[in-house]
Amino acid sequence: MWLNQFLVLSAVLFSIGVYGVLARRNGVLVLMSIELILNAVNINLVAFGSYVQTVVGEVFALFVITVAAAEVGVGLAILLLLYRNRRSVDIHDVDMMKG
C-alpha cells in the first residue's frame, strides 16, 4: 500500500515537469522542470528498490543524481553563453533557423 503513495507522488512530479518543459519560455525554468522529472525518477527508483529489497535502486538513483549535476553544469554554461550573446534566455526567441 505504501508503495503506491510514492508512485503517485513521482507521477505528479513527472507530470508537472513535463508540463513545465512544454509550457515554460525561460530556459532556466525549463532546466528546473527537467530536474523535477529526474527527481520523480529518483523517488521511483528508491521506492521500488526498497520495495523489492535491493540496493540497486538506490545505486541507480545516485548515478542519476551525479550525472544530472554534470548535465546541469553544462546546461547552465550553454544558457549563460546564450544570455551573453542575446541578453535573454527566452527559448522561444531562439528560432533563427527554420524549414
Binding site: 532546466l31 522529472i37 521511483n44 523489492v52 540496493v55 540497486v56 553544462v74 550573446n85 542575446r86 533557423m97
Partner: protein, 548 residues
Amino acid sequence: MALDVLGVVGFIRPHIDWHALAPELTLLGVGALLTTLDVLLAERGRNITPVLAGLGMLGVLVPIFTLLAAGVVGEPRVLFGGAYVVDGFALLLKGLFVAAGYVVILMSTHYVAEGDYWGNEYYGLMLSSLLGMVVMSSARDLISIFVALELLSIPAYLLATWRKRDLRSNEAGVKYYLMGVFASAIMLYGMSLLFGVSGSTILSEISASPGLSSGSASSAVVILGVVFVIVGFAFKVSAFPFHTWAPDVYEGSPTPITAFLSVASKTAGFVALMALVYVGFWERSNVYGPLLWFLAAASMTAGNLMALRQKNIVRLMAYSGVAQAGFMIAPLAIAGSSTLAADDATSAVLTYLVIYAAMNLGTFAVIMSVARRTRTGDVASYNGLFRTFPAMAVVMTIFLASLAGIPPAGGWFAKFVVFKALVSADNASGYVLAAVAAVNAVIAVGYYGKIAARMWFEKPWAASAEAVPEVASVGVSEEGASPDPAAAAPLSDSTQPIPAMVRTPLNLLPFSLRAALTITSLATLVFGILPFTVSTLTDVSLLSPFPG
C-alpha cells in the same frame, strides 16, 4: 546478496577482465593525455593535438583486434554480473565507432585549426563522447546504458555550441541540450518503471522476470515503461515525430560535429535500442513491435517528404537522416516474430549502420569541401559542380547514389538487407512495411537525384565563380576560413584575429579532408561491389545465450 557486498562483512574486489576493457581504457588514456597536453602546451599544441587524437583512435583499434583474435565472437566475455558484455556485436560496433571517430577527426583537423574557435578541448570532448559510445556497445543493463548515454551526449552538447559567438551555433546547442536532456529524463522515468516491475537493472534479468510477461498484472506499467524508453531513444536516432531538433542542430553545429552527430550519435542510439529490444523487452514484442512499426513508417515518409523541399544542403541531410533512421528501425519492428527474424534484423540494422556511416560521413566531407569554396550551404551552390570541381562531383554522385540505394554504391546492400529482414518475417506487417519502404526508396531519389542533377546538368553557380578568384586573398579574409555553410552569414562582429599559421589555399583540399574523402568513398564502393565485406562482419547475434 547485494547487501552483503556493501555490508561490513568486507568489500570483495570484483574480478575485472582487463583485456575486455582494453579499448575503453585506451580511449580514456588518450583522452586524458590530450587534456594534460592541452594544459602543458596550450597554443603550441595546435598542430600535434589532432595528429595525436587520430593516432590514438588507431591505437584503440589494436585491443579491438586482439579481442577479436582472442575469440570473443565465439564466447562472449561477460563482466560485472551481466551488466557489461563484450561479444561480436559489441566488438563490431566499437570498431565502427572508432573508425567513424577517426574520419571525423580527419574532417575536423583543418576545420578547427583554421577556424576562429580553436581549442584542444575539442578533441578531448570528442574522445569522451566516443568513449560513451564504445561503452554503449557493451552496456547490457539500465545503469550502464544510462551512463553511456550521458557520457556520449554531454560532450556533444558542448561540441554543438562550439562556435561560441555564432548565434546559430548557440541556438543549435540550446536546442540540442534541452531536447536531449528532456528525452533522457523521459527515458529514465521509463527505466525506473521497468526496474520497479522486474526488480533488476540487468537486461537479461528484466527479460526473464515474470513481471514483464504479457499476462502479468502490471502490464500497464510495463507498456508505459517500454514506450517511454523507446521514445527516449527515438529522440537520439531522430525518428519522426521526435526529430524536430535535428535540422536546426545540424545546421547550426560545426559541420564535422554535424557529421559526428548524424553518424556516431545516431548509431549509439540504435545500439541501445537493439540491446533493449532484443535483450530487455524480448518478451514484449506486442508493445515495441507496433510502436517501432509506426516510428519506422512515419520516419521514412515524413523525413523524405520534408527533405524534398529543403534549400539548405545540411537541413536536407538532416531530413534524409530522419528517413534513413526509419529504414533502420524497420527491421526492429518485425524482429519479435521469431528468433530467426530477430537475428536477421540484427544483421540488417548493423549492416545498414556500417554502410550508412561510410556514406553519410562521406557526404558531409563533400559538403565541407564544397563549402570551403562557396561559403554557403545553399543547394544551389551545387549547380554545375561537375564543371567547376569535377572530382568532387563524381565523389558526391557516388555518395548520393549510395544514399538512394543504387548499385554499385554500398547503399543498395543496406536497403536490400532491410527488405530481406522485412520479407523474412513472412507476415502482413512485414510485407506492408516493405512496400512502404520501397515507395520511400523511390521518393528519396527525388531529392538525392535533384542534387545530382544540379551538379551535372546546371550551369555553374554564379557566386561560386566569384569565390574562386578570392582564393589568393584568403589569408587575410575577415571571415576566417571557417568553411561552414552556416557561417556564410557570420552574425558576430567580433571576429578574432587569425593567428599566423600554415594555411591551405581554398582551391586545394587539405590532406586530412582528402584522406577522409578517400576512405569513405572507397568504403562505400567496396561495400557495394563486395557486400560480403560487411555481411561477414555483421553476421552476429544479440540473442547469444547469457550465462546466469
